[in-house]
Symmetry: D2
Subunit: 333 residues, 4 copies
């Protein structure tokens, strides 16, 4: 397998999906070994760092990419298979950014309250134990939490000539912030422009479902992925993820019920493709079989997940079995 | 332990929380052996039954109760511990009710579409295998799905002199439709009126998260529970659930983000009680540790769950360890 | 015309829709001369009164009624025609109630902020000028605003055996808080229980659209109304209002788009009844002709209004011209 | 006054805010005489035209512009004063686009219904009478409705490096679809990029509040406007409009309550600037004085308006009286 290594310099970060020339051209089937900076662009390093003082809000959530995938055209589906996600530092950071977060007034849920106080937490990584350490400020509490690396952001250039901030999740993927985006997952994205122009970023060493305060345990990440192209096989709009154990669809919108509805209708379409069910049978099966863990309730669009365990379903080979193929390719690395 | 058995006749069903005289008075610590009719009041028995023809919408979701708990006063917390949930029939039913369901126009999400077609599914229960059988109409697909009995509805009389339909979830519990409400769970509810007046119903042999089409695998249920009273220990409004493995808070409102926010703030309060964390530390811990599975996105209020695994947290004894005590009591039955 | 006078004592206030025995039985066609206390139950009288200190939240929004309308049955429509609304005091009050209001965190839009500060405003009424006086605290600003008396709350007993707080608006009317509910308006409500059991309250000397902070210029009101009954002519669920100049439908739900959608679909139905338009033509006409002023974005359900000027439409006689008839009756008083 | 005339050829339309080079550079104080194509790019001309057959959804809502305003920098405020809006054709068109509209399932409010039927209406303009003619399909109803020309879309390049479709309203203005945007109005927009890069389009000969079906009486428009620049006087994010009679703020988001909250907080800020009120006094005044007509509940973001009549307030000169100055300039044309 062809392997491309790429570690962006600070001036090479992408801050948007679309609107940026590709940093590399890669053929389908290529393995990429990448490094991603954390969502704070590395500026938050100590519990005494206040985000309003150290962050530049025009430079948050830097992306590594975009990559032009040769031969990708609108109407195709891009498959991004995450082989390995390895924390690239020995610590991660989380913080409360003023006027941001699910339980704070924001520019949209615009209320008259003063911003919540700022506070920063630094999580030390214990690689041997596979944990990150939560240390409370207000009480004598230290907790070792499992390190579960994921990528908050995987996306392609948007449709409709748009260029979107890397903070936004939508039909093009982007900042979905779902813990489902971990090593072993294959993400299917609809190609909207020639070359697809995908990029990745926003490594999280750990994140709860909903990402309530707006920032996970954010950390630089070493990323190994394989990119594949499925010609003439568009996904119906919303991003899909396949793992060894689950089918997953991610919807992103507001209010939250609309994000979830999009993921539900996306899953009904997928069940129809896989098993020939009509929409009513698929609706019924979904109702009894689906899990619905939230992804984020903090970004410009909220993201909700619908997932179904493969163990509940007959065997099937989505997109001709590309996920299984990519898993095998990954093992050969 | 004192044991009360009660199986309501059809004319004894309760259709509301509040507004109904108690069917029994029970002392705290009593075990109740109950039977609950299914949400269709037993009227849906065949795949040829159309809900618009056979259902009486003024008689859906019948409750068993209410029970007056001696000594319960506003300011107290009721603990309802589910010991056993056993399907009382060998089949369950699910259906599409016109103008009801998360992916249908409704009286509230009022659009101009015609109602979706009606269709009914009957699930045969295999007690030995512990499964229910999904049989598709539109394709040759039969799936054995695990039988995971739960109660859609557990609630007390509401505050503020209100009487609410058994279809509604809110601060008083009610029709929350969360799969967390299974055997082994202890549900904590704020007492709003003397005697608390709790009732239960809406057995589901299985339900996915979100209950998309609006009806789970609905079935009559044999219910064994123990009721306990915690004096002068009010929960902060929203229902809590404790299991051997998780702390859970359920919020119910619209839009869905508000339901979830209520559950999140409820969990932040609980973390504060258990570990002395201030709200910012609890917000941070929650962000990295919480799971957020949806309960229902179909009822008058939507219900969202915030839960945290006890394995991630230091040992603690919520409400003086009443859950552990009730588990031990249950084993002695 | 038969005239009934009724001024409740404090112990006779109703706090709910439904769940209360009628204070009077009246025949259709009766004129009622009523007095309503303000939403604070008269407890807020000075700018130094803090709501957390002087209000009893279990006794807010007192209703005058309910009245049993002889012959009213489910399937009928009640018409309540407001003849006169006259401020019963020379001042009104408005305030910021902690954790209440559209721009504050609440029990539902549950965030982590401290409550906003409390502050109370007293508006002096100038009957000759027809104004109420806004006096700022933080600047040297005094404004005479037109006095536009309205009733925040007009409702009947709810369907489905429910009893709802007088703070709630829904299909039964209730706390809709729309400035459309002024003298000269006829409100049409679906009868849900024998006798309809309507009540009124929550006089506002003035209110903006949306009632942002949650309290209008609240004041006791002398109310003259005529009640009429339309047999076998149910309105399709949501409350309608007719004035000399407009047709109005009020929807109440959350999120706000659902409240508005309900009012829009209600108006489409009404246009169909009046002019024989199919739903698509009515949808189109509505799109170009409707006004959409918000009513409240603060109550348990939000209320949104759809209204169309009669001047834009051909002459018609809704419900057999009952509004015109009631206007004539009113002039004869 | 310097006057620039510009009528774009079809290949010169802009389809986005941002991402397009300017068609002209103009100095502050310049008058522009422009022509805008209708939102259908002129492709819908007959009641027999079905949108799914004749529209190209990648070419809807064409904009005239963008214009580079010399000297405009981030931190400044752009003032666009609409002098005249004159229908450029003798007819306008409206239609039902499949899976679009407030009362239809969409890609976001994703339900399982089939799309609503398509239907197109053509409105003949009577210039002498100042009316457009609604002609029903399903009944014998023809209505002359007043012609009230407005621009659905006025915007500048977005902040944060984004490029947004001309279908989107947000902080940069864009497709707000408010009837307040009529001749005589001055729109204030925050400058986000050098030159501001504003454009206009989407003429409506008439539109109701909420634009329910998603398309107004769409028509080509002759537009006369004056552009002015206010240095170092940023508006707080959301677009403001000033007319001879009202102050207006437009918020755009989802759910609808968030769009409205943004407009409310924007108005509270404006009242503070104009009258020195603190946020609580401004909140109170707003509550009693504001009108809240909806703009659109159909676009990617919904738009809600908060407006206050100048007649209720003391005289003031927003932005140093620029609106009055522009009105005088306009009269001199």
């Amino acid at each position: 397998m062809h392997v491309v290594e790429y570690r962006p310099e600070r001036h090479e970060f992408a801050w948007t999906f679309g609107g940026v020339p590709p940093v590399r051209r890669v053929a389908p089937g290529t393995c990429l070994r990448l490094w991603t900076e954390d969502a704070f662009s590395g500026r938050l390093t100590s519990t005494s760092d206040r985000p309003s003082a150290v962050l530049d809000m025009s430079e948050v959530n830097p992306q590594t990419g975009p990559f032009h995938v040769e031969g990708a055209e609108p109407g195709d589906t891009l498959a991004v298979h995450l082989v390995e996600l390895t924390p690239a530092r020995d610590w991660g950071a989380s913080t409360l950014i003023p006027l941001f977060g699910a339980l704070s007034t924001t520019d949209r849920t615009a209320l008259l309250h003063e911003p919540l106080p700022e506070r920063t937490w630094i999580y030390q990584l214990d690689r041997a134990a596979g944990t990150v350490l939560f240390e409370a400020t207000s009480a004598d509490l230290r907790l070792e939490l499992p390190c579960n690396p994921m990528l908050g952001t995987v996306g392609v250039a948007p449709p409709g000539r748009e260029v979107r901030s890397s903070l936004v999740p939508d039909v093009f993927g982007g900042n979905m912030d779902t813990p489902e985006m971990r090593a072993g997952a294959t993400c299917y994205l609809q190609v909207n422009v020639p070359g697809a122009l995908f990029s990745v970023g926003d490594g999280h060493y750990r994140q709860g479902e909903g990402e309530s305060c707006g920032t996970a345990v954010e950390g630089a990440m070493d990323v190994v992925l394989i990119v594949e192209l499925i010609k003439n096989a568009p996904v119906p709009a919303w991003p899909r993820i396949e793992t060894d154990t689950h089918y997953v669809v991610v919807g992103s919108s507001r209010p939250l019920e609309d994000a979830w509805r999009a993921s539900q209708v996306g899953m009904i379409a997928w069940l129809g493709e896989l098993y020939g069910l009509d929409r009513l049978d698929a609706y019924q099966l979904l109702t009894q079989a689906a899990e619905s863990p939230l992804a984020n309730v903090v970004d410009t669009n909220y993201s909700a997940v619908t997932k179904i365990a493969k163990a509940l379903l007959p065997a099937a080979a989505a997109y001709g079995g590309v996920h299984r193929h990519l898993r095998e390719q990954a093992r050969s690395l």
